[in-house]
């Protein structure tokens, strides 16, 4: 429909309907309780509209723009990460090289060179960063800096670029097109956050890791895992080349790893004693606050799909 493969079109429609009900609920809440302040809820929903609008525009325009878009997300995420972690003044030049890895990594994606895409950050950048750092000659804090920088590029460049690589895989489900697997991954990851939150809010009693994230409960986690596994089993055959039982496995993988992505970034914030990683997105915080789960789900889902169908 409108040049968009049918199944992907329906998912986009579903997301728009979900957002519309979100707006409606936030409006109703304010009407019902005019004395309470719902600014944050309203901001959250508005920001969702913005993010979804930009994402769909980039995805639907063409593959190249979509790849550039995810490259830009990597840039924002890397910049945000390096801004909150402690770095030395001398690391500026090494950090500059870390940024340059982004266009190169996404270039490999755009030409579909899988072999290079998969080793560029873990091998070449892994070796290049300490080399550049050695040439600067500052040895105090060397180990910590080189560790921070490589972890940062792995999380924000390597992991996120897996979303972009989904776009260049040969289309095996004509009804979903090249955007199908990406939409599936993004929807399941974000909806998993929502489901875990709702299950936790409704039934949550037993905390999982109170020291990291006091709001995470077993009830929320298991409820989210069950919902997403089931939903993924139903929708994976529509949006991806996966069969229904592979869809169940993909859902399980996404919901469990999404949880860990979330708490890993929470630990980073705890360590730095900050609440949000930035304030780029009103009502949500920084880009890492929004993409935390995705950092873990993207590479794992990609490799599951790649192993089972390519």
């Amino acid at each position: 429909m409108f040049g968009v493969p049918t199944h992907s079109f329906y998912l986009i429609l579903l997301v728009v309907i979900l957002l519309m009900s979100g707006s409606l609920i936030s409006y109703r809440m304010q009407q019902k309780h005019p004395d309470k302040d719902y600014t944050e809820l309203r901001q959250r929903v508005q920001s969702w509209w913005m993010m979804i609008g930009i994402l769909f525009a980039a995805l639907l325009f063409n593959q190249v723009l979509a790849i550039v878009f995810f490259g830009f997300l990597s840039f924002l995420a890397l910049k945000e990460f390096l801004s909150i972690v402690p770095t030395r003044q001398t690391d500026r030049r090494v950090i500059f090289w870390a940024y340059l890895s982004i266009p190169v990594q996404y270039y490999w994606v755009s030409i579909g060179w899988y072999g290079m895409f998969i080793i560029f950050i873990p091998v070449y950048i892994f070796l290049l960063l300490p080399v550049r750092m050695v040439l600067l000659g500052e040895t105090k804090g060397f180990i910590r800096s080189v560790g921070i920088l490589h972890w940062a590029t792995m999380l924000t460049v390597f992991a996120i670029s897996h979303i972009a690589y989904l776009l260049v895989l040969p289309v095996k489900n004509e009804m979903a097109g090249y955007i199908g697997p990406v939409l599936f991954l993004l929807f399941m990851t974000q909806f998993n956050d929502v489901c875990q939150y709702i299950w936790g809010k409704r039934f949550g009693r037993h905390k999982i890791i109170p020291k990291v994230s006091p709001n995470k409960t077993w009830e929320g986690f298991l409820g989210g895992v069950a919902s997403i596994t089931l939903l993924a089993g139903l929708t994976a055959p529509l949006l991806t080349p996966l069969l229904w039982w592979q869809g169940l496995m993909a859902g399980l993988l996404i919901s469990v790893s999404g949880f860990f992505g979330d708490v890993v970034i929470s630990s980073v914030k705890r360590d730095l004693q900050i609440k949000d990683t930035g304030n780029l997105i009103p009502g949500h915080g920084g880009i890492l606050d929004r993409m935390d789960s995705l950092l873990f789900t993207a590479p794992l889902f990609f490799h599951f799909l790649f192993y089972s169908h390519y």
């Binding site: 801004s83 972690v85 402690p86 770095t87 003044q89 500026r92 004693q273 990683t277 930035g278 304030n279």
Partner: protein, 221 residues
């Protein structure tokens, strides 16, 4: 004409660079004055400080926001730097050589304040060491001593000294914090005023995301 140059310079170059290449964590934006005369004081670590602060103002009033900058540094050699400083940024040059008496020294500033402009001042006087606050100079006090009506708003910047420190030409992208405080009320004596400014910078730095919590406690004041 000058207004147009400044608006274009900020709309096409500064705002996109500040928003996309750098990225700001802004707190207390509504504390910024929405009309002059007013003074914004900020800590100074980078050439970007001025551009970032000015970019927070809407384009419709950006020509009324005037940074006070060292005449020797920006106008000394003439050329492109002087042109950018005067036409694109609209600085009020300040003579740092120490020859002039106080009245002549600040004549440009008082004239701008009388015209209802918003001044941006860096009381540290120079960019100094990256991400460290040096001693505040009293100059700003003489501007407001007899003008109780002029609000002085403190703004704490952090991260720009990493993005573009003194003596470096390579800009490395970092998110930067801008924390704007409420206007200073303690203005009886020069010492009291300067102390309250320093104290305010210290408090504002607690809201900086890019400042590791362990360091936030011992920001040198």
């Amino acid at each position: 004409m000058d207004r147009l140059i400044k608006v274009l310079f900020f709309a096409l170059l500064v705002k996109p660079v500040v928003l996309l290449l750098l990225g700001l964590n802004v707190r207390g934006r509504n504390n910024l004055p929405d009309s002059g005369p007013a003074i914004v004081i900020a800590n100074h670590n980078s050439h970007l400080d001025t551009l970032v602060l000015l970019s927070l103002f809407p384009l419709s009033m950006i020509h009324r926001v005037r940074p006070v900058a060292a005449a020797d540094y920006f106008l000394g050699n003439g050329g492109i730097l002087a042109w950018v400083a005067l036409k694109c940024i609209g600085i009020i040059p300040l003579d740092r050589s120490g020859g002039a008496d106080r009245e002549t020294l600040f004549s440009g500033c008082t004239r701008a304040l009388n015209a209802g402009d918003i001044l941006v001042l860096f009381p540290e006087g120079s960019r100094g060491k990256p991400e460290q606050l040096s001693r505040l100079k009293k100059g700003v006090y003489y501007l407001i001593k007899e003008r109780g009506d002029i609000p002085v708003v403190p703004a704490m910047l952090h991260g720009l000294g990493r993005a573009l420190p003194k003596g470096e030409a390579l800009l490395v992208p970092f998110n930067c914090d801008v924390v704007v405080g409420e206007s200073l009320t303690e203005r009886q004596t020069a010492a009291g005023f300067m102390n309250s400014a320093a104290e305010s910078f210290k408090q504002l730095s607690a809201y900086c995301l890019t400042l590791p919590a362990a360091d936030a406690d011992d920001v040198a004041v």
